[in-house]
Assembly symmetry: none
């Protein structure tokens, strides 16, 4: 079934707060076959709330709001929507009592402030949605035609908790159960989005009738396959067929699926071979070392490394030859290879990986434009290197360089 989300709050419109509730709801809902077809964000004003919810009701008839249920005067969600449904409001004494009990239990000073009793005002004919995660209860309002609005608090912890333990079960129970939206992602790196599309040819848009989305980023291009409105068994069959088609065409660049992390794959490969790794970084300045040590337990295979940002450090600490720097430049496969070999010897490890490049924005030349970088790897004396380039600002180029270095290690270990 289809629903719309309306997020309420000036803070969201002003951009001071990033709305993560909507994304959370969409992911959770998809697994139950509930599809978010539109998201809107409106301000705190009564008219803005009423307009946003009215339009959503007219479009879809099933609306979840977040925010504006607090105890302060600018929390107008309930009265605005009650008016939209032509309902009055009443004060629910049971809620007032529970708010008082909660206030005492927290050991807060004095009596429950009058403002807080606003949270006990309920639209006539509404169903109260229990909130086990905070003080403001949720509200379910439905009209004679079965059109409904579910109002949840905007506090992420409360919104998420209520979504899982109260709202989604209620929506799912209204039907549409069994139909799901399911996705499967193939993660590629080292190939451009458009090159993938060309390689896939006729399968570029919807292999095996499954929608294919291209998600380019510094890690590479993720290929997300999505099926909707089918049962779970059919979904898996369709995704399996589509994934097989895509792998047949671009499998060479696929390093994993869904949440696969290239760092984790490299650490696993090292562990399986009883090898330890060290790094030698120039333009990335430590980013590769940081990524390799970002995963708990990496200390059994990662020993550390050298950040050779200055060429003098490349020579003194890594044993890169002056003649190599002079003949080929700091950004060259030759230098990358000597950096890797030097780091391996210096650190006494089986594997060393190196990066040197032009992160920009300055320092580019016609032969080596900004974004050019070279990576090298030395596995027990067997050295490989690669020269490539990445688009983006300084940060993104450095991210792409670390990804290319990790992928080179992965391929070198696979042999």
């Amino acid at each position: 079934m289809d629903v719309e989300l309306v997020s309420i709050g000036d803070e969201l419109l002003l951009g001071f707060t990033i709305d993560t509730n909507a994304a959370f709801f969409a992911r959770e809902a998809a697994a139950l076959g509930i599809r978010v077809v539109r998201r809107s964000t409106v301000g705190d004003g009564a008219e803005q709330i009423a307009a946003g919810v009215r339009e959503a009701l007219d479009r879809t008839g099933a609306v979840i709001t977040s925010g504006g249920l607090g105890p302060t005067a600018d929390d107008l969600t309930k009265p605005s929507i009650a008016a939209l449904f032509g309902r009055g409001m009443y004060r629910d004494e049971a809620i007032v009592d529970s708010l008082r009990a909660r206030w005492k239990a927290r050991g807060w000073p004095g009596e429950l402030p009058a403002a807080n009793t606003m949270q006990a005002m309920i639209p006539e004919g509404a169903t109260i949605l229990e909130n086990r995660h905070g003080s403001a209860p949720g509200i379910w309002l439905e009209d004679a035609r079965g059109r409904w609005v579910a109002m949840l608090p905007g506090v992420p912890r409360e919104f998420r908790g209520m979504t899982q333990d109260t709202l989604l079960p209620r929506i799912a129970a209204r039907g549409a159960a069994g139909r799901v939206i399911r996705s499967r992602t193939l993660r590629t790196t080292g190939i451009a989005e458009s090159a993938i599309a060309d390689a896939l040819g006729p399968y570029a848009k919807d292999p095996a009738g499954v929608a294919l989305a291209y998600l380019p980023g510094w890690e590479g291009v993720d290929l997300r396959l999505t099926v909707r409105d089918v049962d779970a068994v059919e979904a898996d069959a369709l995704l399996g067929a589509a994934a097989a088609l895509v792998r047949e065409k671009v499998g060479h660049w696929v390093y994993g699926e869904d949440d696969a992390d290239l760092v984790a794959l490299v650490l696993e490969a090292l562990r399986a071979r009883g090898m330890r790794i060290g790094v030698a970084e120039s333009c990335t300045g430590g980013m590769l070392g940081m990524r390799l040590t970002a995963i708990p337990g990496s200390s059994d295979v990662v020993v550390g490394g050298l950040i050779a940002y200055d060429n003098a450090v490349k020579v003194a600490q890594l044993g890169v030859r002056e003649s190599t720097l002079t003949a080929h430049g700091a950004v060259s496969e030759e230098t990358a290879r000597e950096m890797a070999t030097g780091a391996r010897a210096r650190l006494g490890v089986e594997v060393a990986v190196s990066i040197t490049g032009v992160a920009g924005p300055g320092g580019g030349t016609p032969e080596k434009p900004v974004g050019t970088f070279c990576v090298g790897v030395d596995v027990r004396g067997e050295v490989r290197s690669l020269r490539t380039s990445g688009v983006g600002d300084r940060h993104e180029v450095r991210q792409r360089a670390t990804q290319a270095a990790l992928n080179l290690v992965r391929k070198a270990l696979e042999g």
Copy 2:
């Protein structure tokens, strides 16, 4: 003036991607008196895009879209909106040429894939918005009644860059600005949110009648002062008075304002003193080196460093004494001090900074719980160190450790 944002993409609706572009635009626009009155997110489908944009045009008449300008078949923003305006599409050969040149400049293999030329399809009568941050140009479409849609790429780097250098100036030039929403942020580090509130006392909520928001993060606690609906001159006066009050109370912990970056401040301080710096990192694995080299031009003061993740590397590469590790442990001020001194000698620099800590989630002890870290700095033989702790997951603890190390350098240089 009022505008609406329409974010386009199934990925956003499905919750696989968090939309940060809209928040970025809202913050930047507010400073120019441009107000975002509604945000919507629609799917990739032509009908969904057309419906979302049509409704926004009818409500507000000024619409910015993000996403759906890429080279793949599911990028339907341009044709959908062109149809909405009753315009055809033509292929702009100048754009095709620049795409070809770009492809060659990157040294990518073969010819520009046919798919990419989709980015050169332009609605008739549209104004092309230059994109200096990526390949897909932006599009400005306006009808006879002056209602307009600006189409930007969804890639955050491109959306943000174009918003600042192309779109906002164009919108602002259409006039109607005057009343502004303006903010000023004082950046603190090394002090807790609650301690700041206590120090501010009566000024904790709204110094000089200006709203004060506390924004805690791994960099420290930002104090954001905001005034709205006043003219620019009055806004600056109010913010100035409020900032002075806050600095009077907690100025000791303020390292800068607004976009001030602790790394940039440290690099400047080193440059001013003609000193160069190196790092010695354990638990952060290179994060500090990465941050110091994240700023273009850092190579004149940053030489590099050593990542001593394994204790054997601390001893062999930094000259930390086995006896120190045995007596005080790897996570100790003594070890941090020897790491800094060792790095300074090894790298031949005036300043070296070190970090060693328990990033977690494992490895904590009663004496040294997860989140405990020690930082050290050696400035020409004068050594300082600090032991502290940070909350959060592994990544956040490492971030807090790098910030504490940078702040120790800043204070050491200030003397």
